[in-house]
């Protein structure tokens, strides 16, 4: 059967008939009728099917999953058959969500219990996250909750708790909430293995219930939820009712003239629009794309608008949990007019009634946009109202098409990482702590996870060798080995007295967040902190904004960064760069298709008015979009599309020569492509090439005096081994060092916590470069190195799609067109102005050093 979709719901009577009498009566006393997801889920869950349910906020998703489970538990309870063990596990990515669910479940449990009195045993619900006290844990051991609410990390830890795990031996249901959020990250990969280990422990098939919002393609997420058995995906029924809620969508442009309105003016116009929206609604949820953006908007609304300070609040990940919790409560109580958030309110935390969602700037992906807008209109039939304020011309085009996609229900594809060796390493250690394993048995368990379904056997073995410390000398293995592994016998198991502690203290996939303290050099003064990944982007002389002032970057020492204040100089690198979300591939392709239709019209000198009118945009936005396309076509005589890359040779504002590649495949693909082309060009011209990249393409800066034959470049690019080149290219970057540290810490090569000490990131950082070199010398395909490359190439960039683009280029399914312009064409403007740059290293190090030396000496004499 595999994965199948269910389109026809049952009647309410049919659905309700599968509930216990008292539970049904309670339900009917509370709700007039079943919500769309419930019409499917009651029957399915009572038939013990694996299901995945996607439905918007406010659609009774929680009860759609839990009603039948509660009913079964009450039945057992009435029959006095309820045992002291866990029947159901609920997993969500957020503790806040765990608390909400707990509260939601307590209502029916208490009310039904009150009605039935002492005739039944109590059904217990318990939360188990990193927060709970040892006392609480002890209590749970004595009286285990029948429904256990937890997070992916805590669930994994439970699998290794000697006593509590006994209480899990008869788990029947597992509910995974916010599955769209989990599936796309290493946390989700981690969870997929946890579920397989749990099922292995229970010894029979679990009923798996996945809950999520907007998702595509649902088949893949369903497979992720249920995993594989004997190489075939397990059965799962998909219920997709995510679209019954009506959407009211609009894109607005805050000015008549988006090109010549300066940034300050544009901001004040944007705030005016925003204030109007807030005024016309009861509670507005505002999304910005960055935390600093959130802060700025909140600051403005509090100081410069008609609203009272206490009516406005910020909610983002940098705020403490207490503050966030308070904001959530004030929202629920209807005390706020507006709350501004970066991503933290995207997920299904209960925030009460929201009647409009405003998005400032593009959210970069259709799914994310739906997710955010779906937070409004809490009632079942309420319209979800979303307003996007576009801030530049690329933004307007992008958001216009995004809203059109939502109308047409086209979502972007979810990306689920695969074969992550660091996550697997953690689980192998966990498994070894459980018992002695036959290699084959463990391997087949692992391959039941969707994320490891095609893990090569030899990769698994090399990971076992690594974990057994076989890279160290025989006598050192007691220190380095986390497991023992006998390859001849084909068995592995636990090793070392500290391993269990190491495992408990270092489990998880989210890297430590690192703040770098910033000081002025003279006088020495602390001015704030920046994210570590931002520091990595900084080069000497870069100017950036921190806490409202501008600073020039001087140098960094360990986790401290030194700057000098530079008044009245404009920043060279936007502070939000590292946070910026990448444009998704699917949305990029949609933009490409739209551009293709536009170009076809412009070629025939026809109006494009009606095509642009298809987009749900206001008049100003429409005008700006039309002008943008017309200007591009007039100037460049061509419009780049998803089937035509336009390569523009031009000069930038400083008169330097640049080659702009207009390619609309999303930023992750552009990231890979830009490095490939920079390498090819660098090799041809024997020079280093500087890269600037954004969502709509990339540009390469090349020296004055060299001529460049693009046909040659394209030919070369289609002939080389892209993966090999990209690996060489990223090997010496800061990105590699940082990601290596993350992977090394996930796979227990570098610990975050050891022997009771928290290891500072500074210590973890010790010689990342050296550590990489050592690993490389031991084995060029050392598992942690391999994982670092994989993470960068597949998760951060999108090498698969990039290869596809090159393949299509080779087969002329994607064409390219070379143009020369005196000044950059309109589509290139945002790219040319962008302060971000990366470098492809061409020359060997020695040569570069010699040249540097020569240059310095020349200048000195």
């Amino acid at each position: 059967m595999g994965i199948s979709f269910l389109r026809e719901p049952w009647t309410d009577e049919e659905s309700l008939s599968c509930l216990d009498k008292d539970v049904r009566e309670w339900f009917q006393s509370k709700f007039k009728r079943l919500t769309p997801p419930q019409k499917f889920s009651f029957k399915l869950i009572s038939m013990r099917k694996n299901v995945i349910i996607t439905a918007p906020t406010g659609s009774g998703k929680t009860f759609s999953a839990f009603m039948v489970i509660l009913s079964e538990l009450f039945r057992l309870s009435k029959e006095r058959k309820l045992e002291d063990k866990v029947y159901c596990i609920y997993v969500s990515p957020l503790r806040a969500l765990d608390n909400d669910i707990y509260k939601n479940l307590m209502v029916p449990l208490q009310e039904i219990k009150r009605k039935l009195g002492d005739d039944i045993d109590e059904i217990r619900v318990g939360i188990r996250t990193g927060d709970i006290s040892p006392y609480e844990k002890q209590k749970q051991l004595k009286k285990p909750p029948h429904i256990l609410i937890t997070t992916p990390e805590s669930l994994a830890i439970i699998l290794n708790s000697l006593k509590f795990v006994e209480k899990l031996k008869d788990v029947q249901w597992v509910v995974v909430d916010e599955i769209h959020e989990l599936a796309s990250s290493k946390r989700g990969v981690h969870l997929s293995l946890t579920l397989e280990r749990l099922e292995h422990l229970v010894g029979k098939e679990l009923v798996r219930i996945g809950l999520g919002a907007t998702l595509y393609p649902l088949e893949e997420v369903a497979k992720y939820l249920v995993g594989y058995k004997d190489g075939k995906e397990r059965d799962c029924i998909v219920v997709d009712v995510s679209w019954f809620k009506p959407f009211d969508l609009k894109l607005i442009c805050p000015t008549d003239d988006i090109i010549y309105t300066d940034a300050e003016k544009l901001n004040s116009l944007m705030y005016k629009e925003l204030e109007n929206i807030i005024k016309n609604h009861r509670t507005t949820l505002v999304f910005t794309n960055t935390r600093s953006g959130t802060e700025r908007v909140v600051y403005h609304l509090k100081k410069n608008s008609k609203f009272k300070e206490e009516e406005i609040a910020a909610h983002h990940g940098s705020l403490s949990r207490d503050i966030r919790w308070e904001v959530e409560n004030r929202l629920k109580n209807g005390e706020l007019r507006a709350v501004v958030s970066s991503t933290s309110l995207e997920l299904g935390i209960d925030i009460g009634y929201i009647d409009a969602v405003v998005q400032i700037g593009s959210p970069k992906s259709v799914s994310r946009c739906v997710q955010r807008i779906g937070r409004s209109g809490h009632g079942l039939e309420d319209t979800a109202k979303g307003i996007i304020i576009g801030m530049d011309r690329d933004d307007l085009v992008e958001c216009g098409i995004m809203l059109k996609c939502i109308r047409e229900r086209k979502l972007d594809e979810v990306y689920i990482p695969r074969n992550c060796l660091d996550v697997l390493a953690q689980h192998i250690v966990g498994m070894a702590l459980n018992k002695k394993w036959k290699v084959e048995e463990a391997f087949s368990l692992i391959r039941r996870s969707y994320c490891y379904r095609d893990l090569p056997y030899h990769t698994f073995i090399s990971l076992l060798h690594y974990l057994a410390g076989h890279y160290a000398s025989l006598e050192d293995r007691n220190v380095y080995g986390k497991i023992w592994f006998d390859e001849d016998e084909g068995v592995f198991g636990r090793r070392g007295k500290y391993t269990k502690v190491i495992y408990y203290l270092n489990i998880g996939t989210i890297p430590d967040e690192v703040k770098v303290d910033v000081f002025t050099t003279n006088p020495r003064r602390y001015v704030g902190n920046i994210e570590e990944d931002f520091l990595e982007r900084l080069r000497r002389g870069d100017i950036f904004v921190l806490g409202g002032s501008t600073y020039e970057f001087k140098y960094a020492r360990g986790m401290r960064c030194f700057v000098e204040e530079r008044k009245e100089e404009s920043p060279t690198i936007p502070a939000w760069f590292s946070e910026l979300l990448p444009l998704s591939y699917d949305l990029a392709i949609e933009i490409g298709k739209f551009r293709e239709r536009i170009e076809e019209r412009l070629k025939r000198k026809k109006s494009i008015d009606d095509i642009v009118s298809e987009l749900p945009v206001d008049e100003r936005a429409k005008k700006a979009i039309i002008e943008y396309f017309e200007a591009q076509y007039r100037y460049a005589k061509t419009i780049p599309t998803h089937r035509k890359i336009v390569i523009e040779k031009t000069t930038d504002l400083n008169g330097r020569r640049v080659v702009v590649f207009h390619c609309i495949f999303g930023r992750r693909v552009n990231d890979a492509l830009s490095r490939l082309f920079a390498f090819v060009i660098g090799k041809k011209l024997k020079t280093d090439v500087r890269i600037t990249i954004n969502d709509n393409g990339f540009s390469l800066m090349i020296p004055e005096n060299k001529d460049l034959d693009i046909d040659d470049v394209i030919k070369l690019a289609t002939e080389v081994d892209m993966e090999k080149i990209l690996r060489e290219n990223i090997r010496r970057t800061e990105l590699m060092k940082r990601r290596f540290r993350h992977c090394a810490s996930r796979s227990f090569l570098v610990l975050r916590n050891y022997k009771g000490h928290k290891i500072s990131v500074r210590k973890q950082q010790i010689g990342a470069e050296r550590l990489i070199r050592v690993c490389q010398e031991i084995d060029p395909s050392f598992p942690i190195l391999e994982e670092t490359y994989r993470e960068i190439l597949e998760d951060l960039m999108d090498i698969r799609k990039a290869k596809e683009v090159i393949e299509k280029l080779k087969k002329s399914q994607i064409r390219y067109e070379v143009i020369e312009t005196k000044h950059p064409s309109p589509f290139a403007h945002n790219l040319i102005l962008l302060g971000d740059a990366d470098i492809i290293l061409m020359k060997d190090r020695k040569k570069r050093l010699m040249e540097l030396h020569e240059k310095i000496m020349k200048e000195l004499t």
Binding site: Y555, D688, L751, K755, C775
Partner: protein, 248 residues
Amino acid sequence: MKKISGNIFAIEPFPALYISDLDCTVIADLHLGYETIASECGVFVPRVQFEKSMQTMEKIVNKKKTKRIILLGDIKHEFSGTSYHEYREVSAFLDFLSIYFVEIIIVKGNHDTFIHRVAKKYRIEVFDTFTEKDYLFVHGHKDMDIKKVREDKIIMGHEHPSIALFTDIGVKEKLRCFLYGKAYGKEVIVLPAFSFFAEGSDVNLIPKEELLSPVLRKVDIDSFKVIGIIEGDSFLEFPSVGKLRRFV
């Protein structure tokens, strides 16, 4: 071999000095046992440094054979006590040196607590400072009044000096380096770290008052000349730290 001054030479391309009138080789900051300490902190770096150190030492000896060798402090990595591994590595390294050198002299560094225990076994003397002819050998972690030093030449380690160079497009290159120059009429020479794991301090980026060695904080470091090491290849000379500050 690159002549630094008088009878002092840097052995290209290694972090080692040759002093002809003393017939000796000088190296500093070996930090043996680094991996053990790292693994105790939860950083499981495989043990590679010892092997690499011996290989480098062999190459140095092949280039220039001397009667004596001076180890200029921080032979071992751990501050407090001596771990078993560290003890073994230091012993083995001293064994190894005994094959090539008639005399081994140890100048104590801030990491060299308990080094005398190992040294005693080999009848090697451990000095806080070692002087001969007009040379003074110190590790460099303790402050001292340079003016009052009787010898003309001060040879030291401790700082792990390196220089940072940036290309036009901002690539950072880091080179371990020797520093040498004049202070209060004396000649001062700073050795790069011998250790594979030592992170250098970029002397052309870091302000003077941030330097590790209290001795160097008092000298005009910007006037010091620089010999950078391209590992396994060659030296690269630069006129002064100060001038390199302008190129970053």
